[in-house]
């Protein structure tokens, strides 16, 4: 057990030994001193970036002084650089004088975003971020011009959470665009984005978004604390952040919600949750996360509430089907023959006549081959997709049955289970049931329905023990909160949903005071009849 605990429990009293950016550069032997002799600086830079082809510099004259423009050609927009920086600088008359870099920037490049790099670390940092650094001889600081090329995918429809009705834009890899997509929807000065830099090697930008007058202060502190604790080599996706900030890692259930949909993020922010954007990842996290979040698709709020409620109930039942259907088959067909209606029992028995394996082996064969198919389907190049699906469907579906390796009814069980497992709107939740399914199949194979029941008991105990940022995972079902039931199993009409969920302790618990129930006009239109 000590192995487990050392592997999985977060070190609680870590004395925040995370090195700062400066320290990091120092560890990597980057000098800090910026010299007013540009040649010296240029040398140092050349030394630092030795061996990479894209480090470029141009020698020009600014205000009669020798100046260098240094940049990474892969990171900067070449048009911007030559038109707005180099050309402007060389076209200006040489006799203009300025006392410092700010003044120079106002004279030469008034429209370009800038930073003053007062030491050498900042210079390197600027270059790495795709900025053009102008170092002028005789000045003790450099000017960093933001002309980085935002090379990224255009905003497109999310590929993991498609909907029929509702906004079709999805997050992309660029942090700025993602923040824009949220800001565009919530025109509210109290919508705050705090920026963090993480990753010793990657220096990834991570933004924490929340609405100041809704989100709970203590919760916010906790989220900030956990984000600050992250000390990692590189963050390549929000999944990396997720693993650092969850309350418990030894669980199959996702404790952090992730989505590609800006509208879904806005909905969560408005409930009082916090969003974590990671530069380079189209998946944005929200915390705290509840079990019921994974049964709510954003489309639920765009379709009539009766239909959404029905669909939501379908989702809950498909969760149970995806989890339990194969194990119920195993349990009933090997322990509890009396539970099946006679006719069904006879026809199931008839199909199993020629099957040489016990039911549990039979179902493991099918479930495993389905897992293989599914994994292949995700990983394979798109071009061979059809081959795999044809072979998979034919081999597994038909040939296995015809060869008498598995029974027809089992194919139905496995297929239905597979389809049911795809119903969950969030993929990370549906893969949780995938793993648990095998556990419960074994449990059923050993102990029948008794085993299924034991499994469910253990699972529920585990679920109620989970917390996401201190909020009970099963809230508002366990602990049961009658006031928060308006958006759990069914969705009440939006005009009835006046309160923010109280389990998140929002600063302002009320969404709207007024009674907005729509009704026909009191006076009939078109005068008297």
């Amino acid at each position: 057990m000590s192995l487990f605990s050392s592997l999985f429990s977060r070190k609680k009293n870590k004395n925040n030994g995370k090195p700062s950016e400066e320290e990091l550069f120092e560890q990597q032997d980057v000098p800090k001193q910026y010299y007013s002799q540009v040649e010296k600086n240029k040398k140092l830079l050349e030394e630092l970036f030795k061996g990479t082809f894209d480090f470029k510099y141009e020698l020009i004259k600014i205000g009669g002084q020798k100046a260098y423009i240094t940049y990474l050609s892969t990171m900067t927009d070449k048009n911007e650089l030559s038109n707005r920086v180099i050309q402007t600088a060389t076209n200006h008359p040489n006799d203009i004088s300025f006392s410092n870099m700010v003044e120079m920037r106002e004279l030469y490049f008034p429209s370009i975003d800038y930073k003053i790099a007062e030491n050498f670390h900042r210079v390197v940092w600027g270059i790495l971020n795709g900025e053009a650094i102008i170092m002028v001889d005789g000045y003790s600081e450099a000017l960093s011009l933001g002309i980085g090329m935002p090379e990224q995918r255009a905003v497109s429809e999310p590929s993991t959470q498609t909907i029929i009705r509702g906004p079709k834009d999805g997050f992309v890899e660029g942090l700025q665009v993602n923040l824009l997509l949220v800001r565009k929807r919530l025109k509210n000065p109290r919508l705050k984005f705090e920026i963090f830099q993480m990753g010793r090697d990657s220096k990834t930008n991570v933004a924490l978004g929340y609405i100041n007058d809704i989100a709970n202060e203590d919760l916010l502190k906790e989220v900030r604390k956990r984000l600050n604790q992250i000390d990692v080599g590189a963050l390549l996706d929000s999944g990396n952040v997720e693993e650092f900030i969850v309350d418990k890692t030894l669980t199959p259930f996702p404790l952090v919600y992730n989505t590609e949909r800006p509208d879904s993020i806005c909905g969560h922010l408005l409930e009082g949750k916090m969003a974590i954007f990671v530069d380079g990842s189209p998946f944005v996290l929200t915390v705290p996360t509840l079990f019921v979040d994974f049964f709510q698709a954003s489309e639920d709020y765009y379709q009539p509430f009766i239909m959404s409620s029905f669909v939501r109930l379908v989702r809950y039942s498909s969760f149970m089907i995806a989890l339990l259907f194969p194990s119920l088959y195993v349990a009933i067909s090997t322990y509890h023959h009396e539970l099946m209606p006679t006719q069904l029992l006879i026809s199931v028995q008839a199909q199993r006549e020629s099957v040489p394996f016990p039911a549990v082996i039979e179902i493991m064969i099918m479930e495993l081959s389905f897992e293989v198919l599914r994994e292949a389907g995700v990983r394979m190049p798109r071009v061979v997709g059809q081959t795999v699906s044809i072979v998979g469907a034919l081999v597994i579906g038909q040939a296995a049955v015809e060869a008498g390796l598995v029974s027809n009814v089992l194919v139905i069980v496995v297929a239905f289970t597979a389809i049911a497992s795809f119903v969950s709107p969030i993929y990370s939740f549906s893969i949780a049931t995938r793993l648990l399914r095998f556990v419960v199949i074994f449990s059923a194979a050993f102990m029948g329905l008794y085993g299924v029941l034991l499994f469910l008991i253990v699972m529920v105990i585990h679920l109620v023990s989970l917390r996401s940022f201190g909020i009970p995972y099963l809230a508002p079902v366990a602990p049961f909160q009658p006031r928060n039931q308006d958006d759990v199993f069914v969705r009440l009409p939006i005009w009835l949903n006046k309160n923010r969920p109280s389990y998140l302790f929002p600063k302002s618990p009320v969404r709207s005071e007024e009674n907005n129930q729509p009704s026909p006009p009191e006076q009939p239109l078109g005068g008297q009849k």
Binding site: T334, Y335, H337, I346, S347, R352, E353, F446, M447, G448
Partner: protein
């Protein structure tokens, strides 16, 4: 340490509790019927009826085969025989889908208590299978007669009794629990349905029996058997069974009632056909002048299904007249059946004793031990209150409009 303890307990749960009753579906044979006959050399001859499931799959292997097969053994107790069945059959037997218990007349006359106990006790049987007394042929013959739509004989009987019970009430609807509760109650004696085999039992055994539209052998419902405690004392016909069931749980039935009250030859008589539904039955025993009077009260609704009479169905008077006729007819029928049971068998199969126990507990305690004798002597009052509500989608019948000389 605590977690280690918890793990070891969990391990025990998994390793010690699991698997002992695990049995794969292709290692069992589903028993659907049991038939008990008198043995030649021992007490019983037990026949089991097993489903041949392979016959029910879409892609049959090995061509046409029998849908069900039977095997018989002789011995002195049913439980022993059931465990010994593997002398002749390959797989372990499961009894949870047993639908019918056929008991031959001879065994029923001797008493069936001795093996009913096993069925009730073992826990392998559901308590909702039908108990059937077989008339004439040996009980095992009944478990062998196949039927085209319901190929397994016992499943056919099970479905048939259910339909007959719900549609007309000709089956007393007796399951194991009913039988046992009637057996243990002093104020009631058990009954069971009876079966009779029409045709040639030899030919019925072959599935070729299913090839004909008019079958060579067919198992039919034949009313019910009356028991005194656990011994068969006599039979009631299908009509009488309906009348009996009317005092119990009948929901719907139908009958034909003569139009006129005067006695005519049946072929000259005209009839109205009515169906009865929504009936509520109540049994009571009242003491009048120190003598017990058995009272049956039935409420319900009737509907005219067809009429051969000339009466004008658009008039309310006709309805009242018919209603009265129906009530008289039914009351008469039920009264006769009760009288027959009183005189011929002298056993209370209706549960009047139980009703008396509920209503006049003290009086009942006095007569409890000889209730059947008191029952046999008691007067019967039948109060029928059926309301004629509808007459189908027509008012006047067209029969009245056909010109006649």
């Amino acid at each position: 340490m605590k977690i280690q303890h918890a793990l070891s307990i969990l391990g025990c749960v998994v390793l010690l509790a699991g698997c002992w009753d695990r049995i794969e579906l292709n290692d069992v044979s589903i028993v659907t019927g049991l038939a008990v006959d008198e043995g030649e050399n021992s007490k019983y001859r037990l026949t089991i009826e097993i489903v041949n499931a392979a016959q029910f799959s879409k892609n049959q292997m090995g061509g046409q085969a029998t849908p069900a097969l039977t095997y018989s053994l002789e011995g002195n107790s049913i439980s022993e025989l059931l465990h010994k069945m593997n002398i002749g059959v390959t797989r372990r037997l499961i009894f949870s889908h047993t639908r019918v218990l056929y008991i031959s007349e001879k065994i029923a006359k001797k008493g069936i208590l001795e093996f009913i106990d096993y069925l009730d006790r073992s826990g392998q049987f559901r308590n909702d299978f039908n108990i059937m007394v077989t008339k004439g042929e040996k009980a095992e013959a009944f478990a062998k007669v196949t039927y085209p739509t319901q190929k397994v004989p016992s499943l056919k009987i099970h479905r048939q009794t259910q339909s007959f019970n719900e549609e007309w009430g000709g089956d007393p609807g007796v399951r194991l629990t009913d039988f046992i509760s009637a057996l243990t109650s002093k104020g009631r004696n058990p009954v069971s349905a009876t079966l009779v085999l029409k045709g040639d039992p030899e030919k019925g055994e072959s599935s070729e029996n299913n090839m004909k539209t008019s079958m060579d052998a067919l198992v039919e419902m034949d009313g019910m058997a009356v028991f005194r405690d656990d011994q068969l004392v006599g039979y009631l016909s299908v009509d009488e069974t309906r009348n009996y069931y009317w005092t119990q749980k009948l929901k719907t039935t139908s009958m034909s009632i003569p139009c006129s009250d005067d006695e005519k030859k049946p072929e000259d008589e005209r009839y109205i056909a009515v169906t009865v539904s929504e009936t509520h039955n109540k049994l009571k025993v009242d003491y009048e002048n120190g003598k017990p009077v058995l009272k049956v009260k039935i409420n319900g609704e009737t509907r005219i299904e067809a009429t051969q009479c000339m009466n004008d169905l658009t008039k309310i008077g006709t309805y009242n007249e018919f209603e009265e006729k129906i009530n008289r007819y039914v009351a008469n029928d039920i009264q006769e059946t009760i009288k027959k049971v009183q005189t011929e068998f002298g056993v209370d199969i209706f549960g009047f004793g139980e009703a008396l126990n509920r209503q006049h507990h003290k009086e009942y305690k006095k007569v409890e031990d000889h209730w059947d004798e008191v029952f046999a002597q008691a007067d019967v009052e039948v109060d029928i209150n059926l309301h004629l509500r509808r007459s189908g989608v027509r008012g006047k019948t067209f029969i009245t409009e056909i010109p006649r000389e």
